[in-house]
C-alpha cells in the first residue's frame, strides 16, 4: 500500500474545504424548504440529496488521495464510459420530460450528460497541458479537442438537451480561449460556428427549443408557458425583498407557483426566503469558492493543474451564471442547474468531483523537484 505524503496533509486547503462545506450546507437547508410540501412517494428530494452528498464527500477524499496527474491516463476510460453511457441513455434511457436523458440507478436517475461536462474539462486540460504551442494554437491544433467535444455534444443534443450540449461548447470555448488561439483560428471557428448555428436553427432545432429562444427574445409573449415560469421566478425572488420572508415561510414555492422549485429554480426559493441580504451572503460564499478556485490555479505547480483548476471554475461559473440569469429573467428556461444548489444527483456528483480535483491540485501545489511552493 501507499503511504500518504505528510505534505499532502500540510497543504490541505482548509479555506477551500470550508467554502465547499458552507455552500453545501446552505444548499441542503434550502432544498429542504424547496421540497416542502413533499411530493410524496419515496424519499423527499432533500433526503436523497443528503445521502448523495455524504457519498460525494467520501468520493471527494478518495479523489484527493490520488495525484491529479493520473487524470492524463484516467481520462481515456472516463471518456469512453461517458460516451457509452450517453449512447445507453439515448437508446434505452427512461423517458423523463419528453427527453431521453436518464439511466435509472435506483437512488437517482443518472444523467451522463452531467459528468460529460467534467470529462470535457479534464480532456481539454490534459490535451492543452501536453501540447503547448508558442504564440497561440492554430486551427489545426485545436481540431483534435474539437473532435473530442463534438462526439458527446451531438449525443447530448439528440437527447435532446440543448442547454447541456451548449454548455459543452461554452466550456470548450472558455478553455480554448484561455490557452490562447491565433487570430486565424478565431476567424475560422467563428465562421464555422455561425454557419452551424444557422443550419441548426433551420434544420435541427425542435419546435420547443426554438420556442425557448423566441421566448427569450420576447418574454411577455408566451406568458402561459415559458414566460410564466420566468415571471413566477421573478415574483418569488422579488417578493423576498431585502430581508426575505423567512426560512420555510416562502409562499410562492410552497404553493407551486414556482415551477421546478427544487431543481432549476431552487435558488428562487432561497432568494424569496432569505431576501437580498441572504442572497448577497450566499453569492459571496459561492463566488468566493470560485475565486479560491482561480487562486488554486494561480498557485498550481504545473500547466495541467492550472488548466484543471480553471476548467472546474469555468464549469461551475457558467452553469451558475446561466441558472441565475434564468432565475432573474435574463435568459429563457434552459434547464441548467445551479451546481450544488439544485436538486440532482448527477450534477451534485459531477460538481463535487470537480471540486475534489480542485483540492487535489491545491494540495499538490508543491514542486517535487525544487521542493518549494507556489
Amino acid at each position: 500500500m501507499y503511504r500518504i505524503d505528510r505534505r499532502l496533509l500540510e497543504h490541505f486547503d482548509v479555506i477551500l474545504m470550508l467554502l465547499i462545506v458552507l455552500t453545501c450546507t446552505m444548499a441542503l437547508f434550502n432544498l429542504y424548504s424547496a421540497s416542502m410540501p413533499s411530493p410524496g412517494g419515496g424519499l423527499a428530494p432533500w433526503m436523497k440529496q443528503s445521502i448523495i452528498m455524504v457519498g460525494c464527500f467520501i468520493l471527494f477524499f478518495v479523489i484527493i488521495s490520488f495525484d491529479y496527474k493520473l487524470l492524463h491516463i484516467l481520462n481515456y476510460p472516463f471518456y469512453f464510459i461517458i460516451i457509452a453511457s450517453l449512447l445507453l441513455a439515448d437508446a434505452i434511457g427512461a423517458t423523463a420530460g419528453g427527453a431521453q436523458r436518464w439511466i435509472d440507478l435506483g437512488l437517482f436517475n443518472f444523467q451522463p450528460s452531467e459528468p460529460a461536462k467534467l470529462m470535457m474539462v479534464i480532456t481539454l486540460a490534459s490535451y492543452y497541458a501536453r501540447k503547448e504551442v508558442s504564440g497561440g494554437y492554430s486551427f489545426f491544433d485545436i481540431l483534435p479537442p474539437l473532435g473530442l467535444m463534438a462526439v458527446p455534444f451531438i449525443l447530448i443534443l439528440i437527447q435532446p438537451d440543448l442547454g447541456t450540449s451548449l454548455m459543452l461548447i461554452i466550456i470548450f470555448a472558455s478553455i480554448t480561449m484561455f490557452v490562447k488561439l491565433r487570430w486565424s483560428a478565431y476567424v475560422i471557428l467563428l465562421s464555422l460556428g455561425s454557419g452551424a448555428g444557422i443550419f441548426a436553427w433551420l434544420h435541427l432545432l425542435k419546435p420547443y427549443q426554438k420556442k425557448r429562444v423566441e421566448t427569450f427574445l420576447n418574454p411577455e409573449h408566451d406568458l402561459a408557458n415559458q414566460g410564466y415560469q420566468i415571471l413566477q421566478s421573478k415574483i418569488a425572488v422579488g417578493s423576498g425583498g431585502l430581508t426575505g420572508s423567512g426560512y420555510l415561510n416562502g409562499t410562492q414555492g410552497h404553493l407551486h407557483f414556482l415551477p421546478e422549485r427544487h431543481t432549476d429554480f431552487a435558488y428562487s426559493v432561497l432568494a424569496e426566503e432569505w431576501g437580498f441580504i441572504g442572497s448577497f451572503i450566499f453569492l459571496l460564499i459561492y463566488f468566493g469558492m470560485l475565486f479560491w478556485g482561480l487562486y488554486v490555479g494561480m498557485t498550481s505547480k504545473d500547466r495541467f493543474g492550472t488548466l484543471l483548476a480553471f476548467g472546474v471554475v469555468t464549469l461551475i461559473f457558467w452553469q451558475a451564471v446561466i441558472n441565475l440569469f434564468m432565475i432573474m429573467g435574463f435568459l429563457p428556461v434552459v434547464g441548467i442547474p445551479l451546481p450544488l444548489v439544485s436538486y440532482g444527483g448527477s450534477s451534485l456528483i459531477t460538481t463535487m468531483m470537480g471540486l475534489a480535483i480542485l483540492m487535489n491540485v491545491r494540495i499538490r501545489r508543491f514542486n517535487p523537484i525544487t521542493g518549494g511552493n507556489h
Binding site: 501507499y2 503511504r3 505524503d5 490520488f66 495525484d67 496527474k69 493520473l70 492524463h72 503547448e132 508558442s134 484561455f178 490557452v179 402561459a224 413566477q232 421573478k234 415574483i235 418569488a236 425572488v237 422579488g238 417578493s239 423576498g240 425583498g241 431585502l242 409562499t251 410562492q252 404553493l255 407551486h256 407557483f257 414556482l258 432568494a271 424569496e272 431576501g275 437580498f276 442572497s279 448577497f280 453569492l283 463566488f287 470560485l290 475565486f291 482561480l294 490555479g297 494561480m298 498557485t299 498550481s300 504545473d302 500547466r303 492550472t306 488548466l307 480553471f310 471554475v313 461559473f317 451564471v321 441565475l324 440569469f325 432573474m328 429573467g329 435574463f330 514542486n367 517535487p368 523537484i369
Partner: protein, 631 residues
C-alpha cells in the same frame, strides 16, 4: 501513488523547467478571468438588488395576488312577500361551476374533461369563456348554473383533475306560488355587457344576476343586498388551501307588497281556467293600494331561473296572446262603454244634463247623414242618466257627447286619470290616448269630424286606455273624486327587520265639488248590477250590493261579422270585454277591473272574474251577513 507518479515524472524534467515561464503567463491570465467573474457577480448582485429591493414591494404585491384570491359571495336577494307576509319569492342555493382562467394552466384540457360531466359541448363551454374575454383573468367565469347533487359530488371528489374549476354557491330565486304575479315580480338574468358598462363596478361584476323585469328590476337596489368577500389562499393549480378572512354578505331588503296572494290567485286562476287573455286589477279605493294585478297568459317564471333558452324565449315572443306583456299597464284598448262614466261626468260638470234629464232612445241616433245605432236595436225608450248608465244606452251618451264636445270629454277624461301614466311601480306603463281636436290635427293631419265625438262618447273611436287606468277611474268615482297613485309596495324591510320604507297613500289629484255628480254616476253604476234591467244584473251577489259597468270594445267595425254568432267570429276580430266595479255599493272599499281580450261582452266574459274576486274579498262578511245588514 508510486505508480501514478512514475509516468508523468519521466517526462517532467524535460518540460518542467522551460514551462515555468509559460506557466506564469497562463497563471497571470487567471487574474483577467477573475475580473470577468467579478463583473458577472456584480451584474447578478445588481439584478438581485433591483428585483428584491427596488422592485421588492411590487413583487411582494404580485406574490400576494398570486396566492390570495378575493372571491365575492353573492348575498341572498331580498324576499318578496304579499300583504300578509306570505313569501311569493324567496331563495335557495344554486351550485354553479365556474372557471378561474388565471388558475387553470390548461383551459382547453379542462373544458374537454368538463364537457361530458356537465353535459355541455366543448364549444358551448368555450362560448361562456369567450363571453368573459374582456374581464380580468382572476375573475371566475360561470360555466354552468345550478348543477345537481351528483355532478357537484363528482366535481368536488375529482377536483384535482379540473384545474381552475371552482364551485360557487349562488342564491337563486324560488317561487312558492309558481307563476303567481309573474307580471309584477319579473325575473332575474345575468348582467349584460351593456348593463355592466353603466353599472357601478364596485357593486356589479360580470356573471352577476340582476333584475331584468318587473319589481326585480325596479327594486334592484333594495333587493340585491351587498356582496360578501372571501380571501382564500390558493396554490398554483387554483386549489384553495385555507380561508384567511372574509366579510359576510349582507342580504337584500325584503319587499312586502300590497298584493293579496289569495285575490291574485283567484283572479289568475279564473282567467287561466277560462283561457282568457287579459288583465285583472284590484285596488283599494281609499288608498290606491293594489290588491291584485293579473296579466294573462302568464310567463313561466321558473324558465328564467338560470337563463331562459332561446327556443322558449322565441315561443314567448311569437305567442299571439303576448304573455311577455304586462297588460295591466302595457295593454291599451278601446274602453267601450266603461267610458260612459267619463261622458256622464263631463255632461254633468258642463251642465248639459242633470239628474232630471231624460232622453228618448229609439234604438238609433241620426247625426249628419249617418245613423249611429244603439246596441239595443229596439231602443231603450225614455231614459235618465241613471238608467242610461244602468242599461248602457248609447243614444243617451251620443247626445251628451255631442253637447259637451270632444275637448270637453277630454278634459274630464284627463281629470279621471286617462291619457297619462298612473305612476304605479310597473315598467313601461302606457299613457293611453285621449283624443282631442288638436291631437287629431297634429297627428292625423285632419280636421276633427263631429261624428267622431259620438264614437268617443261611448268609448270607441280613438280612445285607448289601460286596465289600471279604468281601475283607478272606478276607484276615483267610488271614493268621490280622489285620484290616487296606485301603489304596489307596502313596506321595505331591512335584514334586521327594520322597516325602511312604509306605504303612504299618494293623492295625484282631487276633483273638488263634484261629489254630487259622482254620487249620480255611482247610482247609475249600481243600477248596472242591482237594476232590473242592469246590463250585469246576472252578476248580483246575494248580500253584497255593489256597482259596476260593463263594456264591449269593438276591435274592428266590419259589417261582415255583424249578425254572426259570437263563436263564428275569428278570435282576433272579436270584441274586448270590460267589466269594472266597486264594492260595497254604499261604502266602497275596493274596485275590481277585468279586461278579457276578445272576450266579446263585458258581462259574460269579464264579469264572472270580478264577481269571484268580490266574493272572496268579502267572504267573511258575507258569511256573517254583516254587509246586507247595513243596507
Amino acid at each position: 501513488m508510486k505508480f501514478s507518479l512514475k509516468l508523468p515524472t519521466a517526462k517532467q524534467d524535460q518540460f518542467e523547467e522551460r514551462d515555468d515561464v509559460s506557466l506564469n503567463i497562463l497563471q497571470k491570465r487567471l487574474i483577467g478571468v477573475g475580473v470577468i467573474i467579478v463583473f458577472f457577480l456584480v451584474v447578478i448582485l445588481l439584478r438581485f438588488y433591483f428585483l428584491q429591493v427596488t422592485k421588492g414591494d411590487d413583487y411582494k404585491r404580485r406574490a400576494y395576488n398570486n396566492r390570495i384570491r378575493i372571491s365575492t359571495v353573492a348575498p341572498p336577494r331580498g324576499h318578496i312577500l304579499d300583504r300578509m307576509g306570505r313569501e311569493i319569492v324567496t331563495n335557495r342555493p344554486s351550485f354553479n361551476v365556474a372557471l378561474v382562467r388565471e388558475d387553470s394552466r390548461d383551459i382547453d384540457g379542462t373544458l374537454k374533461k368538463l364537457g361530458p360531466v356537465l353535459g355541455m359541448s366543448e364549444e358551448e363551454l368555450w362560448g361562456r369563456v369567450r363571453e368573459a374575454s374582456d374581464t380580468p383573468l382572476y375573475l371566475p367565469v360561470t360555466l354552468k348554473e345550478d348543477i345537481d347533487w351528483q355532478t357537484l359530488a363528482y366535481l368536488e371528489y375529482n377536483n384535482r383533475e379540473f384545474s381552475g374549476v371552482r364551485i360557487e354557491v349562488q342564491p337563486v330565486r324560488v317561487y312558492p306560488y309558481g307563476d303567481l304575479a309573474a307580471n309584477i315580480i319579473g325575473y332575474l338574468g345575468s348582467i349584460s355587457k351593456k348593463e355592466l358598462e353603466n353599472a357601478d363596478r364596485s357593486i356589479y361584476s360580470g356573471g352577476d344576476l340582476i333584475g331584468k323585469r318587473g319589481l326585480e328590476r325596479l327594486r334592484e337596489a333594495d333587493l340585491r343586498g351587498e356582496k360578501g368577500k372571501r380571501y382564500t389562499e390558493v396554490n398554483a393549480r387554483g386549489f384553495e388551501q385555507q380561508m384567511l378572512d372574509g366579510i359576510e354578505p349582507m342580504p337584500g331588503r325584503d319587499l312586502q307588497l300590497t298584493i293579496d296572494v289569495d285575490l291574485q290567485q283567484i283572479a289568475e286562476n279564473y282567467m287561466l281556467a277560462g283561457e282568457k287573455s287579459g288583465a285583472v286589477v284590484v285596488l283599494e279605493v281609499n288608498t290606491g293600494r293594489l290588491l291584485a294585478a293579473v296579466s294573462t297568459p302568464t310567463i313561466h317564471i321558473e324558465d328564467f331561473v338560470g337563463g331562459i333558452s332561446r327556443r322558449k324565449w322565441k315561443a314567448l315572443m311569437d305567442n299571439e296572446h303576448k304573455p311577455l306583456m304586462n297588460k295591466v299597464v302595457q295593454g291599451t284598448y278601446p274602453p267601450g262603454s266603461v267610458y260612459k262614466m267619463v261622458t256622464a261626468l263631463a255632461g254633468l260638470a258642463r251642465g248639459v244634463v242633470n239628474e232630471n234629464t231624460s232622453l228618448f232612445c229609439p234604438g238609433s241616433y241620426r247625426f249628419g247623414n249617418r245613423t249611429y245605432r244603439c246596441w239595443k236595436h229596439s231602443g231603450h225608450g225614455m231614459v235618465n242618466l241613471c238608467q242610461a248608465l244602468g242599461q248602457s244606452c248609447d243614444v243617451f251618451f251620443y247626445q251628451v257627447g255631442q253637447w259637451v264636445g270632444v275637448d270637453g270629454l277630454a278634459k274630464y277624461a284627463t281629470e279621471l286619470g286617462f291619457g297619462q301614466q298612473t305612476g304605479i311601480e310597473m315598467e313601461y306603463e302606457k299613457s293611453g290616448l285621449v283624443p282631442t281636436k288638436a291631437w287629431k290635427q297634429e297627428v292625423k293631419k285632419r280636421k276633427w269630424q263631429e261624428g267622431e265625438t259620438l264614437s268617443v262618447a261611448i268609448g270607441q273611436g280613438f280612445n285607448l286606455v289601460t286596465p289600471i287606468q279604468i281601475a283607478n277611474m272606478t276607484a276615483t268615482i267610488a271614493n268621490g273624486g280622489t285620484l290616487y297613485r296606485p301603489q304596489l309596495v307596502e313596506k321595505v324591510i331591512d335584514p334586521e327587520g327594520k322597516v325602511v320604507e312604509q306605504f303612504k297613500p299618494e293623492v295625484k289629484s282631487e276633483i273638488k265639488d263634484f261629489s254630487h255628480f259622482f254620487q249620480l254616476i255611482r247610482q247609475g253604476m249600481e243600477e248596472v248590477i242591482q237594476g232590473k234591467r242592469g246590463t250585469a244584473r246576472q252578476l248580483r251577489i246575494e248580500g253584497l250590493p255593489f256597482a259596476g259597468k260593463t263594456g264591449t270594445a269593438q276591435v274592428v267595425k266590419v259589417a261582415q261579422y255583424r249578425g254572426l254568432r259570437d263563436e263564428d267570429i275569428p278570435y282576433k276580430y272579436r270584441d274586448h270585454g270590460w267589466f269594472t266595479c266597486y264594492a260595497p255599493a254604499d261604502k266602497p272599499e275596493i274596485s275590481v277591473t277585468v279586461l278579457v281580450e276578445h272576450g266579446l261582452h263585458g258581462s259574460s266574459g269579464a264579469g264572472p272574474v270580478a264577481r269571484a274576486v268580490l266574493k272572496h274579498y268579502f267572504a267573511k262578511r258575507l258569511k256573517e251577513g254583516t254587509l246586507s245588514a247595513q243596507e
